[in-house]
């Protein structure tokens, strides 16, 4: 679990060009980390690659915070 959180945070930091320390579990990509809509699409693409899964568009829309990303990946990997 912590491992997934760390990996997600690392990707978020890399993709959005922010310091990893700024990426909190409750951070919203758009409101807190300054992502635009294209950034969030790219972020989902990066998550798909990191965790070797496919995130459907309807699910991707709901991933707007670090917590939601961690939850999604956790639920998905357990399947």
């Amino acid at each position: 679990m912590e491992n997934i959180e760390a990996r997600v945070k690392k990707i978020v930091a890399e993709q959005l060009g922010v310091n990893e320390a700024e990426v909190k579990i409750e951070s919203s990509f758009v409101d807190d980390l300054g992502a635009d809509s294209l950034d969030t699409v790219e972020l989902v693409m990066a998550l798909e690659e990191e965790f070797e899964c496919e995130i459907p568009d309807e699910d991707a829309e709901k991933i707007t915070t670090v917590q939601q990303a961690v939850d999604y990946v956790t639920a998905h990997l357990n399947k």
Binding site: D36, L38, E42, M45
Partner: protein, 245 residues
């Protein structure tokens, strides 16, 4: 304007403008994959491009998933596509009063939807690379209109609108998206026109002659090069002064 080692995909590369584009990009050093609708066409493209490290591949741009699958194969075998030239196109000319739904749909699928599909398919890799070139072949007809080509003109105008939108979406990622709008170019497509119509058209061209496929290819090579890095969302008219928008 070296394009050395860059992977380029050119649709509709077996003859006419597409063939000139594929060959020109290859001569600048790009690894060019040119598509044709038939296997024989693909083989002929391979024969032309082999010495430059390129090849021909079969593609029906209207078939489900065909473009996506082709892009996946290219990325696996040659690496990410750096240059996409959406050139494939057909005509189904006729006066509007007699135009069949199928004439309209065929043009939209082949000339416009294929641009959307191919551009989307290459975008992921270009976004990641933070650089890329998408060059769409529009037409002077898409800007000025032409009797007997309502479907073709609509699709070509659609390409221009698509180009501007995509340019705005992905500009922040270093990807440029432009159109080249050929005027009246001497190809099989225009040779099919009646002689009287050809002559009337030439009369409207400031330079007084038809264009050559190479004229279009040269514009594409420029837009594909690093020299055009600050040009995006534009339509470069290559028409001998037939239209000056």
């Amino acid at each position: 304007m070296s394009l050395k080692g860059k992977v380029a995909l050119v649709t509709g590369a077996s003859r006419g403008i597409g063939a000139a584009i594929a060959d020109s990009l290859a001569r600048e050093g790009a690894i060019v994959i040119g598509t044709a609708t038939s296997e024989a066409g693909a083989v002929a493209i391979s024969a032309r491009l082999a010495e430059f490290g390129g090849l021909g591949m079969e593609l029906n741009v209207t078939a489900d998933d065909a473009i996506e699958n082709l892009v996946a194969v290219i990325e696996k075998q040659h690496g990410a596509i750096a240059i996409l030239v959406n050139n494939a196109g057909i005509t189904r000319d006729g006066l509007l009063m007699r135009m069949k739904d199928s004439d309209w749909d065929d043009i939209m699928d082949t000339n416009l939807k294929s641009v959307f599909k191919a551009s989307k398919a290459v975008l992921r890799a270009m976004m990641k690379a933070r650089v890329g070139r998408v060059i769409n072949i529009a037409s002077v007809v898409g800007v000025m209109g032409n009797a007997g080509q309502a479907n073709y003109a609509a699709a070509k105008a659609g390409i221009i609108g698509f180009t501007k939108s995509m340019a705005r979406e992905v500009g922040s990622r270093g990807i440029t998206v432009n159109c080249v709008a050929p005027g009246f170019i001497d190809t099989d497509m225009t040779r099919a026109l009646p002689e009287a119509q050809r002559e009337a058209l030439v009369g409207q061209i400031a330079l007084g002659r038809l264009g050559d496929a190479q004229d279009i290819a040269d514009a594409v090579v420029f837009l594909a090069s690093d020299k055009a890095a600050y040009i995006t969302g534009q339509t470069l008219h290559v028409n001998g002064g037939m239209l000056m928008p």
